[in-house]
C-alpha cells in the first residue's frame, strides 16, 4: 500500500461524453440531435395507429384507393413481429429480381415472388439464393431444395446460412383481393439449418405466379406476409 496520500495528487478530465451533447444540441450538421430523434422515433412508432393492420372494410377501401392512384405493380405486406402493415410498390427491376418499396423507405427484393433481400428493417436479409426453391414452387412439385441466406454479423461481415427445405403441395384456395381473382394451389416449404427452422407458405396461380405468401426473412425479422394486388 503506502500510497494513500500519493493518490490524492492532481488529476483531470478522465472522460468526456460528447454523446451527452447530442441529446439536446442543435446545429446544421447531421448527427446532432440524433439522440432525440431516435427517442422520438421510438415513441412515435409505438403511438402511430396507422401502421397497425386495418380491418377488412377499411383494408378494401384503401386498396381500391391505392390501385386507382398508380399504374405500378402494388402489394401489401405485414411484418408479423411488429404487427405493421404497409403498401409496397414495385420500384425497380434488375434481371430476375424486382424491388418493392414502402412509403417509409423500407424495401423487399424478390425473385418471382420469393424474397431475396430486405432493407431498412434491421438485421436485414442481405441477399439470398432461392433458385432451387423457386423451381419447385413454380413446378408445384414435392421435393427438397437448398436455400442460402446472407446476413451481416455485428461487425458488418457477411454470414451465410444454408437451409435444407422440403416442399409439399397442400391444397387449393381461391383468392380475391384488389385486381387479383384467381384459384391458387398452396405449397408449403419447411426449412431447417443452423439450429433454426421455419415454414413458408405460398399460393401459386396456374401460371406459376406467387400471388400470396408468408415467408421467413430472418432470425430477427421473422415472417412477412405479402399479398400482390395487381
Amino acid at each position: 500500500m503506502g500510497s494513500v496520500l500519493e493518490m490524492k495528487q492532481h488529476s483531470k478530465l478522465l472522460l468526456v461524453f460528447p454523446a451527452l451533447l447530442l441529446l439536446a444540441a442543435c446545429g446544421n450538421q447531421p448527427g446532432h440531435g440524433t439522440g432525440l430523434q431516435a427517442i422520438r422515433g421510438a415513441v412515435l412508432k409505438k403511438a402511430a395507429p396507422s401502421s397497425a393492420i386495418p380491418d377488412a372494410t377499411e383494408l378494401k377501401r384503401t386498396i381500391t384507393e391505392a390501385l386507382a392512384n398508380t399504374d405500378k405493380r402494388l402489394a401489401v405486406a405485414v411484418v408479423e413481429r411488429h404487427n405493421t402493415f404497409t403498401f409496397l410498390t414495385e420500384i425497380a427491376r434488375n434481371g430476375a429480381y424486382s424491388t418493392w418499396g414502402s412509403p417509409d423507405r423500407r424495401t423487399l427484393s424478390e425473385q418471382s415472388g420469393l424474397v431475396t433481400a430486405s432493407r431498412g428493417l434491421g438485421a436485414d436479409l442481405m441477399s439470398a439464393n432461392v433458385g432451387e426453391s423457386l423451381a419447385l414452387i413454380q413446378g408445384q412439385r414435392a421435393g427438397s431444395a437448398i436455400r442460402s441466406h446472407i446476413y451481416l454479423d455485428g461487425e458488418n461481415q457477411e454470414v451465410s446460412l444454408i437451409f435444407s427445405c422440403s416442399f409439399a403441395p397442400t391444397g387449393q384456395q381461391t383468392i380475391s383481393i384488389g385486381e387479383i381473382h384467381v384459384t391458387t394451389r398452396t405449397v408449403e416449404e419447411r426449412c431447417a439449418g443452423h439450429g433454426l427452422s421455419f415454414q413458408n407458405n405460398y399460393r401459386v396461380s396456374s401460371t406459376g405466379r406467387i400471388v400470396q405468401s408468408r415467408q421467413w426473412i430472418g432470425p430477427k425479422i421473422g415472417h412477412i406476409t405479402i399479398q400482390k394486388l395487381r
Binding site: 500500500m1 503506502g2 500510497s3 494513500v4 496520500l5 500519493e6 493518490m7 490524492k8 495528487q9 492532481h10 488529476s11 483531470k12 478530465l13 478522465l14 472522460l15 468526456v16 461524453f17 460528447p18 454523446a19 451527452l20 451533447l21 447530442l22 444540441a25 446545429g27 446544421n28 450538421q29 447531421p30 448527427g31 446532432h32 440524433t34 439522440g35 431516435a38 425497380a92 434488375n94 429480381y97 418499396g101 417509409d104 423507405r105 423500407r106 432493407r119 431498412g120 434491421g122 436485414d124 442481405m126 441477399s127 446476413y151 451481416l152 454479423d153 455485428g154 461487425e155 458488418n156 461481415q157 457477411e158 454470414v159 451465410s160 444454408i162 443452423h194 433454426l196 430472418g218 432470425p219
Partner: protein, 702 residues
C-alpha cells in the same frame, strides 16, 4: 472478404458446445471483483466470451467496487477497478471519509478444459498499483456434468493471507519506483494459501456458489466489517444477456450485492442498422449506352451535377467535386452520415447509376476529408448492375482501390465552399474515478463551428460557458505526495482551467490540409489549438493505399494558455513533436508507436495497442515512458491508460459518424503529456483505404 459459415452472432440461439477436444470454459457470471467467474470473492479458471466488455458494481463490508473488464482475446482478460473503501484506515494524514483506490488485473487461461484435465488459469490482481488488492493466483476449474464446476487454487499476496500453507521466500513491501510499475519482484512470493469453490448452474438464469476464501481482509477486518468465517455463499441471477445481479453472505458477518452489465462489441443491438433502404441500382437501356449526344449539349453537365448533388444529399452525402467524361465519371464526396465507409460508397454508386448518362461506364468515388481527397473506389457500372442482388463479397472482388486524386482535378460543386457548419448545445464534462473523488462534472454551454473556406482550408472554433459544476473542485486538506524536482505543470494544473465561468475559447484555429503526393498527406494548424496550449502544429503522414504501415511526423511549437482560456498566454513555451508508426496487425488489432519530445520537454516513447471492431468499437491501452525520472513524474511513475470508443450508431441503430470516446488514465501528470490538436490525419485517411473498408464491406449493399 471473409465469409463465415459459423454460427453467427445474429442468432440468439446458442449451439450447445460439443465436448470434443478442449472446452474454453466460458462463463456469463461476474464475481464481486467485477471479473468473469462463477464464484464470489475468489477467482476461477473460467473466461468470459471473447471481446465481452463488463461493467461491474459491487458492495460489501463498506467497500464499493466499480470494475471494467475486457476479454482482450479468448484467453486473456484485463480489468480496471475503482474502489471506494468507507471507513478504511489509510493513515493519520488521510482525511476523506472514503479511501479511493485504483487497480488493474490480468487473467490468462493457460489451458482449456479437456475430459480429464481441468482448465487452468494464472492471474495477477492489482499488478500496477499501490498494492491494496495485490494478489496472484494459479487456479484450476473442472466441470462435472453441465451444471457443476469445481475450483481449487493457490493464492499469494492478499490471496495468501488466510490459513497460509507455506511461504515462498520474502515478499518485498517497498513499491518499485513511485508506484505504478509492475511489482514483479513480489509476484508469487511470500505466504501462500489455498482457496476452493463450487458453482452450480441451476438453469440459464440462476446459479449458486460456495467458496472457501484465502483472503483474511487483514486491513479491513474490524474497521469495516468482521471476518468470522472464510466461507462465502452466493446466488447469481441473470435478468437478460446484458444485466445480472448477485447476492452473497460473506465472511460469516455481512451481505454483499453486485450488478454487472455485459456488452458484446462484436454484436450490435441493430445489426446492419435501421437506416432507410438505399436507392436501387438503375439499369441502362442498351440502346442508350452508345449515345454521346449529351456531351455536346452545353447545359447538360450542369444539370447532371445538380441532379447528382440533390440525389446524394437525400442520402446524407455531399457532392464536393465532379470529373465527368463521356465514358467515365469520378466524384468527390463528403460523407457526413455513415460511420461505415463502405455504406456511403455503396449508396453513392447507386445514386450515380440513377443519374449519370448511360454512356458513363466507369464510376470512381473519392472521399474527401476536409476538402482533401483521400481514398478512391472504382467500379465498372456493368458490375454494379449485375451484382446488385449478389453477396457483397462478389462486388468487392471487382472494386479497385486507389489514392491518386487531387482536389484540383475536380470541378468543385457549387455551394460547397465556403460553408459554415455549426452546432450549439449543452455539454457535460465528466471526470470519473479520480483518486480523491468518484465523479466530478461541469455542465457547459458549448458553441462550435467550422468554416470551410476552400478545399483543404478550415477555420474552426469552439467556445464554452460554464453553467455549473465542480470540475475545478479541490478537496479540503489536500496534503498529497510531493514529487522530487517536478517537471513544469504542463497538465497537472488542468483543474485551474476548469475554474471560472468564462466565456472560454476551447479552440480557435486555422488549418490547411493537403496532399503532397499520392502517399503523402499534410496538415498545418495555427491558433489556440486546445484548452491549455496555443501555437502552431504541423503534421506529415505517409500512408500508401495498400500498406498496413503508416508513418507520421508531427512538430509543434506551443505556449501554455492563460487559465481563463481567453487570448492570453503564460510564460511557458515548448517545441514538442513525435515520429509515429501505425501498423494494422490484422485480426482486429492495431498498434501505434510514437517517439519524440513531450510537453514538459521530456523525451520518450508511447506504445499503444487497440482492438478494433467492424462497427466502430475500439478498446485499447497505452503506456508512455519518458526520460523523466519516476521521482519527478510522481505517483504512477509513468503515464498509462485505457481508452474506449463507443460508436453512437451502435447504440442508436442508425448511421451517424458520432462516437463517444472515453479515456481512463492512470493519473494525469506532467511527464509523457502530449498536445491535443484537432484533425490529426491518420484515422480519416486510413478509413478510406481498401484494407480498412474491406473489413466492413458487408455494408456496401446496405
Amino acid at each position: 472478404m471473409r465469409k463465415r459459415t459459423l454460427q453467427p452472432a445474429i442468432l440468439a440461439l446458442a449451439l450447445t458446445p460439443t465436448m470434443i477436444g478442449a472446452d474454453p470454459q466460458t462463463t456469463p457470471w461476474i464475481n464481486m471483483y467485477g471479473n468473469p467467474g462463477g464464484l464470489i470473492d475468489m477467482p476461477t479458471a473460467e473466461v468470459a466470451q471473447d471481446a465481452r466488455l463488463v461493467t461491474g458494481l459491487s458492495y460489501f463490508g463498506g467497500t464499493t467496487k466499480t470494475a471494467l473488464t475486457f476479454q482482450v482475446t479468448p484467453k486473456l482478460s484485463g480489468s480496471f477497478r475503482y474502489s471506494a473503501l468507507n471507513g478504511f484506515d489509510a493513515g493519520p494524514r488521510y482525511t476523506l471519509p472514503s479511501y479511493y483506490d485504483r487497480s488493474f488485473d490480468l487473467h490468462y487461461q493457460l489451458f482449456e478444459e479437456t475430459r480429464y484435465r481441468p482448465a487452468i488459469a494464472l492471474g495477477l490482481r492489482d499488478l500496477l498499483g499501490t498494492g491494496l488488492y495485490e494478489g496472484e493466483y494459479i487456479v484450476a476449474t473442472k466441470s462435472i456434468g453441465k451444471k457443476l464446476r469445481l475450483t481449487g487454487g493457490l493464492g499469494w499476496g492478499r490471496l495468501g493471507s488466510h490459513n497460509t500453507a507455506t511461504t515462498f521466500g520474502t515478499r518485498p513491501s517497498e513499491l518499485l519506483g513511485g508506484g505504478g510499475i509492475p511489482n514483479y519482484d513480489r509476484w508469487f512470493r511470500g505466504p501462500m494459501a489455498p482457496f476452493a469453490g463450487i458453482s452450480y448452474q441451476h438453469n440459464a438464469r440462476l446459479s449458486f456458489a460456495a467458496e472457501y476464501s484465502s483472503d483474511a481482509y487483514l486491513r479491513e477486518n474490524g474497521d469495516m466489517f468482521a471476518v468470522k468465517s472464510p466461507v462465502n455463499l452466493g446466488i447469481n441471477y441473470k435478468l437478460n444477456n446484458t444485466v445480472q445481479f448477485g447476492a452473497a453472505y460473506m465472511y460469516g458477518s455481512t451481505f454483499g450485492l453486485n450488478v454487472a452489465i455485459t456488452l458484446d462489441p462484436k454484436s450490435a443491438p441493430v445489426i446492419g442498422g435501421n437506416d432507410p433502404a438505399p436507392q436501387p441500382v438503375a439499369l441502362r437501356k442498351k440502346t442508350a449506352i452508345a449515345d454521346l449526344g449529351w456531351t455536346f449539349e452545353a447545359d447538360q453537365k450542369a444539370q447532371i451535377t445538380k441532379a447528382l448533388a440533390n440525389a446524394l444529399a437525400r442520402e446524407g452525402i455531399k457532392l464536393e467535386g465532379l470529373k465527368l467524361a463521356a465514358t467515365k465519371a469520378e466524384i468527390m464526396i463528403h460523407n457526413e452520415r455513415y460511420d461505415i465507409d463502405s455504406q456511403a460508397i455503396g449508396r453513392t454508386m447507386r445514386v450515380m447509376s440513377r443519374v449519370l448518362p448511360a454512356s458513363v461506364a466507369t464510376f470512381t468515388v473519392t472521399q474527401s476529408s476536409r476538402g482533401m481527397p483521400t481514398g478512391s473506389v472504382a467500379l465498372a457500372r456493368a458490375d454494379l448492375e449485375a451484382l446488385e442482388n449478389a453477396p457483397a463479397s462478389a462486388i468487392l472482388q471487382r472494386a479497385s482501390f486507389s489514392a491518386q486524386s487531387r482536389a484540383r482535378d475536380f470541378e468543385i460543386a457549387q455551394g460547397r465552399f465556403p460553408r459554415l457548419a455549426w452546432s450549439f448545445g449543452p455539454l457535460v464534462k465528466l471526470s470519473a474515478f479520480d483518486p480523491d473523488s468518484p465523479v466530478r462534472a461541469d455542465l457547459v454551454a458549448h458553441l462550435e463551428g467550422q468554416y470551410h473556406i476552400s478545399p483543404g482550408w478550415v477555420a474552426s472554433g469552439a467556445f464554452t460557458y460554464k453553467l455549473g459544476g465542480n470540475l475545478d473542485g479541490l478537496p479540503e486538506g489536500r496534503t498529497g505526495f510531493v514529487a522530487v524536482d517536478p517537471a513544469y505543470p504542463v497538465r497537472s494544473d488542468a483543474r485551474l482551467y476548469a475554474s471560472g465561468s468564462g466565456p472560454k475559447i476551447d479552440h480557435l484555429t486555422l488549418a490547411r490540409y493537403g496532399r503532397l503526393s499520392d502517399n503523402l498527406y499534410s496538415r498545418v494548424t495555427v491558433g489556440y489549438l486546445e484548452q491549455m496550449y496555443a501555437g502552431a502544429s504541423g503534421e506529415l503522414l505517409w500512408k500508401p493505399v495498400n500498406s498496413r504501415l503508416a508513418i507520421g511526423a508531427e512538430l509543434n511549437y506551443v505556449a501554455q494558455r492563460d487559465y481563463d482560456q481567453q487570448f492570453g498566454t503564460r510564460g511557458y513555451k515548448i517545441a514538442t513533436g513525435h515520429i509515429s508508426a501505425y501498423y494494422d496487425l490484422g485480426n482486429g488489432f492495431h498498434t501505434q508507436l510514437d517517439a519524440g519530445r513531450y510537453l514538459a520537454g521530456d523525451w520518450g516513447v508511447t506504445t499503444s495497442l487497440d482492438r478494433e471492431f467492424g462497427n466502430g468499437w475500439r478498446i485499447g491501452a497505452y503506456v508512455t515512458k519518458t526520460n523523466l525520472s519516476s521521482e519527478s513524474f510522481g505517483e504512477g511513475s509513468f503515464d498509462k491508460g485505457i481508452r474506449i470508443t463507443v460508436p453512437m450508431s451502435w447504440a442508436i441503430g442508425s448511421a451517424t459518424k458520432r462516437s463517444a470516446p472515453l479515456t481512463i488514465q492512470s493519473l494525469t501528470r506532467d511527464g509523457g503529456a502530449r498536445l491535443n490538436v484537432n484533425g490529426r490525419l491518420y484515422q480519416s485517411i486510413r478509413s478510406s483505404h481498401g484494407a480498412d473498408m474491406a473489413k466492413t464491406w458487408g455494408r456496401f449493399w446496405r
